[in-house]
Amino acid sequence: MSLIELTGVSRWFGNVVAVNDVTMTIGAGVTGLLGPNGAGKSTLLSMMSGFLAPSAGTVTLDGVPVWLNTDVYRRIGLVPETEALYDSLTGWEFVLINAQLHQLPDPAAATRRAIAAVDMVDAQKREVGKYSKGMKQRIKMATALVHEPEVLLLDEPFNGMDPRQRMHLLDLLQSLAAEGRTVLFSSHILEEVEQIAGTIEVLVAGRHAASGDFRKIRRLMTERPHQYSITSADDRKLAAAIIADGSADAVSLSVKGLEVQASDFGRFVQALPRLAQAGHIQLFEVTPADESLESVFAYLVSR
């Protein structure tokens, strides 16, 4: 079992802090690195894969620093997000070259196995430059698997995949994790991550915002204060009823309608129709105000 350990890792580019004092340990199984775009996921992955020096802190694989240590690539498989491949090579040649660069004893056999694992046998004789986005993603996956690494790092691997390819990759990652490998992938979509990741690490604005299994992360996200915009036949009366009921934390009244903040999401959505009916107030519109992922993340950071 392999452990990636980040201790007090920061990375800045000039005045911009991309990753801010992150400490985490990633072990066997599937871990999802979740965060909105620009949160520093790629920077963190670059440091984990030895392609960027941390400005502060250390990144180690089983106690050995990964920076300036090309030997770690015997044990790390990397699936970069970049689309650029060696376009004039066929899928087979591309994976074979990766196997040869790893100086494997039988590169052809390793290539055959890796291509079969990503289900690309039918397309292996075509040039990678002509592959679709999903196929490129899979052939990249094959290059990362060709030396059967203990650690697999994937940057946004589900981007551009259709549902069938997504299912296939989910299965593949799960089977790799079942073999005891350490699999880490980044994503900005919670649903994607919670489908397979045993552990979720949330990164927001360069900070390590939350960590835990998907239930914990889900709960953190649903228990945060929710904002609603409401318009009704009698806003003033409805506001009074909501305040009296106690199911919301704050209500503000304006000409545009009501703004309600409720920290107990379940309780409020049940109370609202009941209060409206009891007071004979017709509801015109109920809109959750800021359900965007960014606001969810923003809440996690400000906690």
Binding site: S42, F51, L52, A53, T70, Y73, P80, L89, H102
Partner: protein, 241 residues
């Protein structure tokens, strides 16, 4: 050295638009050689001037610029170099394998086109051919190593290289005495000067002696190669943008 890296580099150099440009430059040289012959009716003095100024001062640097930067620049530019770097191979091996392919390509293309150009423009015995093949070979090594290093160090290596090749080596190196002492072309020309010693009309003028020229070339080549290798070791790579 790593054979796989070398093969991949060769494929990259010979494929695509760059290869067409690489053929265009020697074709241009042969055209100028034809014009030289037509204008001078095969006078070797004119051939020598053409080889020293146009072949060595303009075409060879451009050819080496295309080859030197092309051996690694595009892969760094588009990020595909990550497939080479994420391997248990010393970065030095990757850099030296690529540089070896680049220098070989420059040597082959540079010397063959020079020989052909001199034969077209008119030689005297084989004197000019011998002299300039030696100089071209020396300059090709120096130029290619410089441009290869530039491609690792800078994303705008082609522009920087172009300015260096045309301005420093071409214009300033031709007229400003101080710069002429620090010019790959002048160092390499010292070899042709030595071969043609005793034939004053054919002999090109080099600012430095043969010994100085060779030492400066060797030092420059080693220094830029070391710089390139060191930069490749810590080449920052965002796994994604």
């Amino acid at each position: 050295m790593n054979v796989v890296v070398m093969r991949l580099t060769m494929r990259g150099l010979l494929g695509g638009k760059r290869a067409l440009l690489l053929l265009l430059l020697p074709a241009l040289l042969l055209l100028v050689a034809g014009l030289t012959r037509w204008g001078s009716s095969g006078n070797p003095d004119a051939t020598s001037a053409m080889a020293a100024n146009f072949a060595m001062g303009t075409l060879l640097p451009l050819m080496c610029l295309l080859i030197g930067t092309g051996a690694i620049g595009p892969e760094i530019e588009d990020g595909s170099i990550v497939y080479l770097l994420a391997k248990p191979l010393p970065r030095r091996t990757i850099a030296l394998s690529k540089l070896t392919v680049a220098i070989t390509a420059s040597l082959v293309l540079g010397t063959i086109s020079t020989v052909a150009a001199i034969l077209i423009a008119g030689d005297q015995g084989w004197w000019l051919t011998n002299a300039y093949v030696t100089s071209v070979a020396l300059a090709a090594i120096g130029y290619t190593a410089i441009f290869f290093m530039l491609a690792i160090v800078s994303r705008s290596a082609v522009i920087v290289g172009l300015i260096y090749a045309l301005l420093w080596e071409g214009v300033l190196g031709g007229y400003v005495p101080g710069i002429r002492v620090l010019s790959v072309r002048q160092w390499a020309l010292s070899a042709a000067e030595r071969v043609l010693d005793g034939q004053p009309s054919l002999m090109p003028h080099s600012e430095v002696s043969l010994t100085t020229g060779l030492i400066m070339l060797a030092i420059t080549t080693v220094v830029v190669t070391v710089l390139g290798v060191r930069k490749l070791k810590t080449l920052p790579m965002r796994v994604a943008e």
